[in-house]
């Protein structure tokens, strides 16, 4: 028996290495995907105390609490002013005690920022001395800007602070919800699928040789079960090696993920980037099982009898029924496109989400099922049009086994569909964001809403700032809702609007102009409603103005919201790009392994053909053709389906669909070319494997 194993040592080793590598990559990826929920939950949980209100459950003595969501140069700054009203006030996590009046506790990131920022732009907002740091337990993410400022109780009361007797402890659950879980599950499956395909492709490396070996074993009396067990043993050994490797990879990748991956512009706490133990166990045991299953299925196609592998005859051509899921998916898209998601009820949205999920699912499944049919049709077309020998050989090869052909390229097809789907949707969102908002706050303007605070000293302070070019004061008569008193021409210097008013109702309306439909002539007697400051455009000017404002005054710059949306979109795109690069990479690897396996499988006829005068170039063209043609065709189908899907979603949400830009298509073409180029690395192999001089005429 050992000699039987030794006989194919090299190929066994190659297969072992490929399988182990595939499993390792799969395990690392799935484990990292599984860290997403704990990481987000951790962020949610750590930030729970930010949401403290008077209604939070009582756990301690009373305290005054005035929280505000401030900003600094586009970054969120959580600022809370506190005053203890008893000896045992509630203490936020990460702090040892509540800061006394005149004391300030800051997060490490804020401490760094204070050190590098002119005091009037930031430190002015934190009256007192920094006496403490806030630990990780109180920070949603490592670089979060948080300040807890101790103030005298009476000053706080005057600013409108709430009286609390405990901190909020339950996370608002804004980040982790069912939709996210579904997305993560789809993502994990999407990442795992190409890995499984890769493993199955690896199992077929030198399959013929292995099957011969198994046939020899069956001849000396091994039962079918024993042979299957042997194959499974071989694979599971590789799988366990891969699992160990993958787990180590996961451990190594955790700090990298914590250091590199951002969500909402922020990194995760390293301690939160950890898959739950139970999940880890499931993955570590489940992936080997999956691997063995993939191998057994891959081997099953060639039932090993004692007399060798059963003679390969025609495989049954794929039936038209394979189009059903695609047809269902397309019907689903049509339904989605005709639904008005933007204006439907909550239950309507839930139904629509179900519809979208089902449609995307059936499109994905449909692509995988219809792929062989597509390949088969393609082969038929090619064989009809073929003029040269390479074309005919490629056509017949695809037609002979469209299933294997498609399996090799399915990863690329899926990647094409999913990428296009998201790129199309993202492009739609972006197009909407980029649409100029004529009534938005100008980039160099700042809006100050004094609320109940006295406006006059604030106005004086603002006008004294060297970066301020001018101020526009909008006043308002409480008795006249929908109208403010401000000259249109003045307002136009800070806000994009056409004069004469009213401001257009659409777009990003500055908070101070929400609900305003009429501009009245200025009237100095009315109370100040909003101050629009025209600055020199330097970012710090805005921050200085923010710092001038006492608690309770809202200061916003035009960028705050837009930047946040952009950030999320960029992250989504970056993450998607990363996932797609990975999928494409693994798919390319499977394709390459598949091409090499197909070559080795046909070594003898190819070698003899070369002996009889087939040029090397013709052989290479055949192999390239039988790979490239189905690859391009299925990728095009995937892209088409993806475009249709994104268009349908855009139309249902009432957005204007533009489709992904030329950059996307260039990237897609480049991706295909890279995939082909990588799988072409097998072409030099064609020469050595089919060298006619290596023929042994046994």
């Amino acid at each position: 028996m050992p000699s039987v194993w030794m006989g194919a040592r090299f190929t066994t080793l190659a297969r072992f290495a490929l399988t182990a590598a595939g499993v390792a990559v799969g395990v690392t990826l799935v484990l990292l995907t599984l860290t997403a929920v704990p990481a987000l939950q951790g962020r949610d949980h750590r930030a729970a105390w930010h949401a403290t209100t008077a209604a939070s459950p009582a756990t301690a003595d009373r305290a005054l609490w005035l929280a505000s969501d401030d900003h600094f140069l586009g970054r969120d700054l959580f600022l809370v002013r506190v005053a203890a009203l008893g000896p045992r006030p509630p203490v936020p996590p990460g702090l040892e005690r509540l800061p006394a009046p005149g004391e300030v506790a800051v997060s490490p990131a804020l401490r760094d920022l204070l050190a590098t920022t002119p005091p009037e732009a930031l430190a002015a907002r934190l009256p007192g001395t920094v006496t403490a740091g806030i630990g990780a337990a109180g920070l949603a993410y490592p670089e979060e800007l948080v300040a807890v400022v101790g103030l005298p109780p009476d000053q706080l009361r005057a600013a409108g602070a709430a009286e609390i007797s405990g901190l909020a402890t339950t996370a608002p659950g804004l980040l982790v919800n069912d939709a996210l879980r579904v997305i993560l599950t789809i993502g994990a499956v999407g990442l795992l699928t190409p890995v499984v395909i890769f493993i199955a492709a690896s199992a077929r490396v030198a399959a013929a040789r292995r099957e011969q070996r198994f046939a020899a074993l069956r001849l000396v009396g091994a039962t079918r079960g024993q042979v299957a067990a042997m194959a499974a043993t071989e694979t599971s050994l590789a799988a366990f090696a891969g699992v160990a490797l993958g787990w180590v990879g996961y451990l190594l990748a955790r700090p990298v993920v914590a250091a590199r991956v951002t969500f909402d512009g922020a990194h995760f706490m390293a301690a939160d980037v950890r898959a739950p133990a139970a999940h880890q166990l499931v993955v570590l045991l489940g992936v080997p099982l999956l691997t063995v299953a993939a191998t057994v299925v891959a081997l099953r196609r060639a039932q090993v009898t004692p007399l060798g592998v059963r003679q390969r005859v025609r495989t049954r051509a794929p039936g038209l029924w394979r189009l059903t899921p695609v047809a269902l998916g397309v019907a689903g898209l049509a339904t989605i496109a005709s639904t008005d998601l933007a204006n439907s009820s909550t239950s309507g949205i839930a139904t629509a989400q179900l519809l979208i999920g089902g449609t995307f699912g059936s499109l994905l499944l449909g692509l995988v099922l219809a792929g062989p049919l597509l390949c088969s049709l393609l082969a038929r077309l090619l064989s009809r049009l073929s003029r040269s020998m390479p074309e005919l050989m490629a056509a017949r090869r695809i037609a002979a086994d469209p299933y294997t052909t498609f399996r090799a390229i399915s990863g690329v097809a899926i990647a094409a569909l999913v990428t296009t789907m998201f790129a199309g949707t993202a492009a739609g969102v972006e197009a909407n964001l980029d649409r100029p908002a004529p009534d938005a706050l100008r980039a160099d303007a700042v809006e100050v809403l004094p609320g109940t605070r006295p406006a006059a000293p604030l106005l004086t302070a603002i006008r004294a700032d060297p970066g301020v070019r001018g101020t526009v004061v909008a006043r308002r008569d409480p008795a006249k809702p929908g109208a403010i008193a401000v000259p249109c021409r003045d307002l136009a210097a800070a806000v994009n609007l056409t004069c004469p008013a009213p401001p257009a109702p659409n777009g990003l309306v500055p908070r101070g102009l929400e609900g305003i439909t009429r501009l009245d002539p200025p009237d100095e007697r009315l109370p100040v409603h909003a101050i629009y400051v025209v600055t020199d455009g330097a970012p710090l000017t805005g921050e200085r103005i923010r710092s001038l404002a006492p608690p309770g005054v809202r200061v916003s710059t035009g960028r705050d919201i837009v930047e946040l949306d952009h950030r999320q979109l960029t992250e989504l795109e970056a993450g998607l790009r990363l996932a797609m690069v990975f999928v494409l990479l693994v798919a390319t690897a499977s394709l390459t392994v598949g091409v090499a396996a197909g070559l080795v499988e046909r070594r003898r006829p190819f070698t003899l053909l070369r002996a009889t005068g087939l040029q090397l170039g013709e052989l290479r063209r055949t192999i390239l053709l039988e790979t490239a043609l189905p690859l391009v065709a299925t990728a095009v189908c995937g892209i088409a389906l993806g475009l249709a899907a994104s268009a349908a979603v855009a139309s249902s949400t009432g957005r204007h669909w533009t489709g992904p830009g030329p950059a996307f298509f260039l990237t897609a073409v480049a991706g295909l070319i890279v995939t082909l180029a990588v799988s072409s690395t097998t072409l030099p192999l064609v020469k050595t494997v089919t060298e006619p001089t290596s023929v042994r005429f046994e």
Binding site: A399, L608, L609, T612, T693, V695
Partner: protein, 236 residues
């Protein structure tokens, strides 16, 4: 008859073993020559050198006045495609192509149109007793049928020389005889010189003459047969 293919002083070494040690052999137009010899004697290497598959380390191969051993790999491939035909022991048919497409391969490679090539290939099916098997895949043919398809493929391009390496190696004697009958008859019919490498005397007996390869050298048996034996008999 003129010599169309000759190998003179051929030497070929594979690592430590010297497969050919100065072998000479010539093939005359239209004749059928059998190359015999024990396993490992170098007979396949000799065939591969003559056919331009291998380049000899020393010596020359001349086909039709051209030095084959000096041609580039590309030119030798073209020569094999255009002027030579090949039949191997087994496994030379492309599994995904139908029988008739397999036969048409050399014509398609030569740039013939598909329809014409298939048509020319079909003619051979009746001639070789393969009528009705055109659309079969190689996996659906018997050993003898597959070998006859291989013979048709080797001859369809009307090569000047046909090389057959143990063409009946995997067949029983009856099927082997049929294949050899068809091979030799068809080759003679279109005046194709044939070199058959075999270890079976039955197969060699189809040839006009036999050469023996021993330890990398060629003994032309016809010389032995003519001089020694006839001389001996005459002396009696």
């Amino acid at each position: 008859m003129t010599t169309i293919l000759a190998g003179n002083g051929l030497r070929k070494r594979f690592g430590l073993t010297e497969a050919l040690r100065g072998a000479d052999m010539s093939v005359r137009a239209g004749e059928v020559v059998a190359v015999m010899g024990p396993s490992g004697s170098g007979k396949s290497t000799l065939l591969h050198c003559l056919a331009g598959i291998l380049r000899p380390d020393a010596g020359e191969v001349v086909f039709d006045g051209r030095r084959v051993d000096r041609l580039s790999d590309r030119r030798r491939t073209q020569l094999r495609r255009g002027s030579f035909g090949f039949v191997f022991q087994f496994g030379q048919l492309i599994p995904e192509l139908t029988a008739v497409e397999n036969v048409a391969t050399p014509l398609l490679l030569a740039g013939q149109r598909r329809r014409a090539a298939i048509g020319a290939a079909s003619v051979w099916f009746d001639r070789l007793g393969l009528a009705g098997l055109q659309e079969r895949l190689p996996g659906e043919l018997s050993g003898g049928q597959a070998q006859r398809v291989a013979v048709a493929r080797a001859l369809v391009g009307r090569p000047r020389v046909l090389f057959a390496d143990e063409p009946t190696g995997a067949l029983d004697t009856a099927a082997g005889d049929d294949v050899m009958d068809l091979l030799v008859a068809s080759a003679r019919e279109q005046d194709t010189a044939t070199v058959v490498v075999t270890h079976e005397p039955r197969v060699a007996a189809f040839a006009d003459r036999t050469v023996l390869v021993h330890d990398g050298l060629v003994d032309d048996e016809s010389d032995v047969d003519k001089s020694d034996v006839d001389g001996g008999v005459a002396a009696r």
